[in-house]
Amino acid sequence: MHEPKPLLEIDRLSVDFPAPDGLFSAVRDVSITIAPSEALAIIGESGSGKSVTANAVMGLLDAPPARVHGDVRFEGRSLFSMPDRQRRDLWGRRIAMVFQDPLTHLNPVYPVGWQVTEVCRIHGMARTEADRRAMELLDRVGIPDVRRRMGDFPHEFSGGQRQRVMIAMAMALSPDLLIADEPTTALDVTVQAQILDLLRDLRTESGMALMMITHDLGVAADIAERVVVMRRGEIVEEGALDRVFAAPVHPYTRQLLTDRSEEYRSARPGVAPAVLELDRVGVHYGTFEAVRDVTVTLRKGEILGIVGESGSGKSSLASAILKLRRPSSGNIRFHGRDIYALGREEETGFHRGVQAIFQDPFSSLNPRMTVLKVISEPWLLHRDVLPRDRWRGRAAELLDMVGLTESDLDKYPAEFSGGQRQRIAIARALALEPEVIVCDEAVSALDMTVQAQVITLLADLRTRLGLSYVFIAHDLTLIRKFADHVLVMKAGDVVEQGVAEEVFSRPSALYTRQLIASSPVPDPRRQAERRTARRRTLVHASTAP
């Protein structure tokens, strides 16, 4: 077969950063080529070096402190050794880039129209023509009412629209290569699906090459033709999309692709007693109605999954259950007693019986407390549970239960990774031997492999300790793997609820079907089918968020 001349060649690229103990090598000896109009996905978890690679190509790493070795060639010309002027001429015109978080990557003090025209103006286009081009582009990426919205500022757009603006900016001068660094990670799944479709369409129209950086195998399966899998700064596997997904060679790729759906779910408890009952619960913030009329029952040993996108009210509901925010209507009962009308003793009982694990592993532990202090805080608040001289021993047992060791007790949170911190948070939640744990996006911030470990731990603890979970997540795949009973929420309403398997295999609400169709699966063939399906269920650009 005839090999096309490569558009971009990354040639034995290495990037090192100075670290307290010598050099930290973020990227080691990475070589990647992209042919014209090819779609390549670089897959990896945090710390894999995928983003550093992309930033090194664009010369966006600050050097010093970054030390970059190797070479990157565009159409055979070395980007690293060409004069600054020539390189700047390529940026934005031949090679463009889209970033993860569109809000911070757009300049807050300039109108979006101005920011799109800026690319054209930098590369010498006349003002009126640049204006016309910007309007055309914003219209193409699906910004409604462009003429009026050109003068609006980034904060006046939704997350999805901001990413559309970023894409319009990148497409302004029809580049030959688009580098997209996690462009859909900050977005809801339905919006993510629309942005992926937009990128796909634009690629078909313009014939540009795409280098997509992602941690999400489903996203890669959706858009790429070829994938590179990175781990700890090195390439572990590379090949055509179908081949890698169907027959992964490297153990790490195989680990990534393993589907554990059947491992988590234990037999659903029959008619176990109700632990927590929500009856027509509503939550208001001022005049804004965050949650409307939620009625659901959590039984002993059961996992209740609550799924929804941002603004669905799922976290407000969690706050109401945890007594962090008083519901404006309805009531919540713990063992039959209204939790907002408890006596002193029952109040203590509630605070022991219901615990929480929150999303952000970096803020869920007080940075100035040792692990021992973190885990023993519940005993400090409930002094009759455990005498002080047994705190250390019990804390060590709990750490052991979540897969850490006693020697970790005297360390500070900063010395642990995200996954380990979530384990510590779980140990703290277990300290009072609760009946219910509310997990509010408890694993969303974690890498796939770490996520799998924490979920396994939670599933295991449920079996051993008879815990019930309220498991809140935006990630449909997770809920599907883990929950017994599912509540699908949208804009404060419950659109569908029922036994998990049934909801997912025979969704009755249109929104549930959209969610399922939008949520990408790491299987290229199934993903292609879903794409066709979602084109049918989703209304496109004109009504985009």
Binding site: L60, L90, G92, R93, F99, L106, N107, P108, V109, I122
Partner: protein, 305 residues
């Protein structure tokens, strides 16, 4: 006017009122003015007559009410010492201070932006280190001492500049130079920190990926965002500039509001003191409103939310 400006405006107005009350009652505590203006051997009748003619025999609350009513009409009462309306004395002194502060602030801002931006472009470079040292030093200098040393060097030893008074441009050099020390030091540090923050922001990455050059990144993307912080701090500084003005006017014998206020305190001249304070507070209030307007023009997030 938008809600942001309105909200801040009413807050400052409330502060203004509190200040008025506070100052009136505090000034009354300084002592009985009849002791000050009448001879030691004045008879009780003379004292009573003096107090009655100036309204000092009424209850304090009545005096305050009368005062407030006067304030509404810009009538602050007569100066006991100068024998003319207090407002006249204040209005005569006010432009002097305003000019001094205005020139100082403008010069400090311009210099701070230039030096701060240059230092921020390459943090930890030699220029940055020297600039940081000097700005911290100038922010740490006691202004009255700098003024004295300046007089010693430029007026007494070298004889280049006049020691006091105002008139020729030469008279301006030392007062403005001395008054600039603190705001310049502080503002340069603020500009530097704000610029470093702005240049490290993700949107600067975007600009670089668009192919933007250095000057566009610094001035179009960096400075515009850094100005938001700088303007807020400059506003706070403008109020503290009055502190410095008091000292500088005293040392260089400028007939400004600072000088007038010190005199008024020493002479227990209630009317002038209160007029001074109120006019200063009003000027600061007015400037805060202007800064809020400027801020809301520069930051679209405030404008529309």
């Amino acid at each position: 006017m938008n809600r942001f400006v309105l909200k801040h405006g009413t807050q400052s107005l409330f502060a203004l009122l509190c200040l008025l009350v506070l100052v009136f009652f505090l000034a009354r505590l300084t002592g009985d003015p009849t002791d000050l203006y009448l001879p030691m051997d004045a008879s009780i009748e003379q004292r009573a007559e003096f107090a009655a003619s100036h309204g000092f025999d009424d209850p304090v609350v009545v005096q305050f009410g009368r005062y407030l009513a006067g304030v509404m009409r810009f009538d602050f009462g007569d100066s006991l010492f100068q024998g003319r309306p207090a407002i006249d004395a204040v209005l005569a002194a006010f432009p002097v201070t305003l000019k001094l502060a205005g020139v100082t602030m403008a010069l400090s801002l311009v210099l701070a932006i230039v030096i701060g931006s240059l230092a921020a472009w390459r943090p930890r470079s030699i220029f940055d280190r020297v600039a940081s040292m000097l700005t911290i030093a100038s922010a740490s200098a006691p202004d009255f001492w700098v003024a004295i040393v300046a007089i010693l060097v430029f007026a007494v030893s070298l004889g280049w500049l006049p020691t006091s008074g105002m008139g020729s441009p030469a008279h301006w050099i030392m007062p403005v130079g001395v008054l600039m020390f603190r705001p310049l030091g502080l503002l340069t540090q603020v500009v530097r920190a704000a610029m470093i923050g702005a240049l490290a922001a993700p949107y600067v990455k975007t600009a670089r990926a668009k192919g933007a050059g250095k000057s566009r990144i610094i001035f179009v993307h960096g400075l515009r965002n850094a100005m938001l912080t700088v303007i807020t701090v400059a506003g706070d500084q403008a109020a503290t500039l009055i502190n410095g003005a008091v000292v500088v006017e005293t040392v260089f014998g400028w007939p400004g509001i600072g000088n007038l206020m010190i005199q008024a305190i020493q002479q227990r001249d209630f009317a002038v003191l209160q007029a001074c304070i109120l006019m200063t507070a009003f000027a600061i209030f007015f400037m805060n409103v202007l800064i809020d307007i400027a801020y809301s023009r520069l930051d679209p997030r405030v404008r529309t939310s």
